[in-house]
């Protein structure tokens, strides 16, 4: 019973994928229609390919919806380190995204050496590591050394932020 109800649930969310494809296709078509054709540069203007791709997206949306309604299900990607026995772990996922967002928000304010360390520390925490001292040391060493690596090795100046002048 529980398997059939999860299957129905997955079916519903798979129809969501079809809907997303439909929306993307519609976007491509609408965006293409407002483009101006310039006849001088050959018979194919900027519109054609987006229209074709948009059409392809709409077509796959329809085909996918038919496939799902007939009982077809997408195969979740397996992997050596993946256990599909349990569902998605949204708590871990949420924490990971939070660490990622923290980096994006902090990188220009506090600089990469700080935001990168926050990112690494946050992701290790999200993934279940609880060796706080060890993780903090690794995080700081990694973010500071990559800052130097990019600065000296690749000549890319990542934001130094609050550590400006110290590094």
């Amino acid at each position: 019973m529980s398997t059939s109800s999860t299957s129905v649930k997955q079916g519903r969310s798979e129809l969501g994928v079809a809907l997303l494809l439909l929306v993307l296709g519609g976007w491509a078509v609408i965006d293409a229609l407002r483009l101006q054709e310039l006849a001088i540069r050959g018979p194919i203007g900027p519109k054609t390919v987006p229209l074709v791709v948009g059409g392809l997206l709409v077509l796959t949306a329809v085909l996918l919806a038919i496939d799902v309604l007939r009982g077809g299900r997408g195969e979740q990607e397996a992997g050596e380190d993946v256990d599909l026995g349990h569902g998605s772990d949204f708590k871990t996922l949420g924490l990971l995204v939070a660490a990622f967002v923290a980096n994006a928000l902090l990188i220009e304010r506090l600089g990469w050496p700080v935001s990168g360390a926050v990112l690494f520390f946050g992701t290790t925490y999200a993934l279940g590591s609880r060796h706080f001292i060890r993780n903090a040391i690794i995080s700081i060493v990694l973010s500071v050394s990559t800052w130097y690596l990019f600065y000296l090795g690749l000549d890319i100046k990542l934001p130094a932020g609050i550590l400006k002048g110290i590094l």
Binding site: E80, D81, G128, S129, R130, H131, I133, R134, I137
Partner: protein, 131 residues
């Protein structure tokens, strides 16, 4: 009441198991063997493989000790697992193996043995591995 031994497939772990068997025979107590992994890495050498675990079972049966084997992968440290189990079973004694550690190593990695020694409510027998 029971005796709990933290087992790892290393010389220290074997030494701890030997002492624990002696204690269990001496005290006529049930022996609970704990082997755990945080499950963080794909391969954890401190987590007993099927064959190793089976040989532990065999040794205890040969020694005629009333025993129970517990293998745990719950994302917790070994010390946490052992302390929790000692609490649940109202353990009489905890037996652990000790290995030589540098102060820096202890600072960074933490010490499972130290945690158990400091936090256990029952006596702890700490055994060194045979050199």
């Amino acid at each position: 009441m029971a005796i709990i031994v933290g087992y790892v497939p290393t010389p220290e772990g074997m030494a701890a198991l030997d002492s624990a068997i002696e204690e269990a025979q001496h005290r006529h107590q049930r022996l609970v063997v704990v082997n755990s992994s945080r499950g963080e890495s794909l391969v954890d050498p401190r987590f007993a493989t099927g064959a190793e675990w089976h040989s532990v079972d065999q040794r205890l049966a040969d020694a005629g000790v009333d025993h129970e084997l517990v293998q745990l992968v719950e994302g917790k440290d070994a010390a946490e697992q052992i302390l929790a189990l000692a609490n649940d079973l109202n353990a009489e004694l905890i037996v652990i193996g000790l290995r030589r550690r540098t102060p820096v190593g202890k600072l960074i990695m933490g010490s499972q043995a130290q945690t158990i020694l400091l936090q256990a409510e029952c006596p702890v027998l700490a055994v060194k591995g045979k050199a």
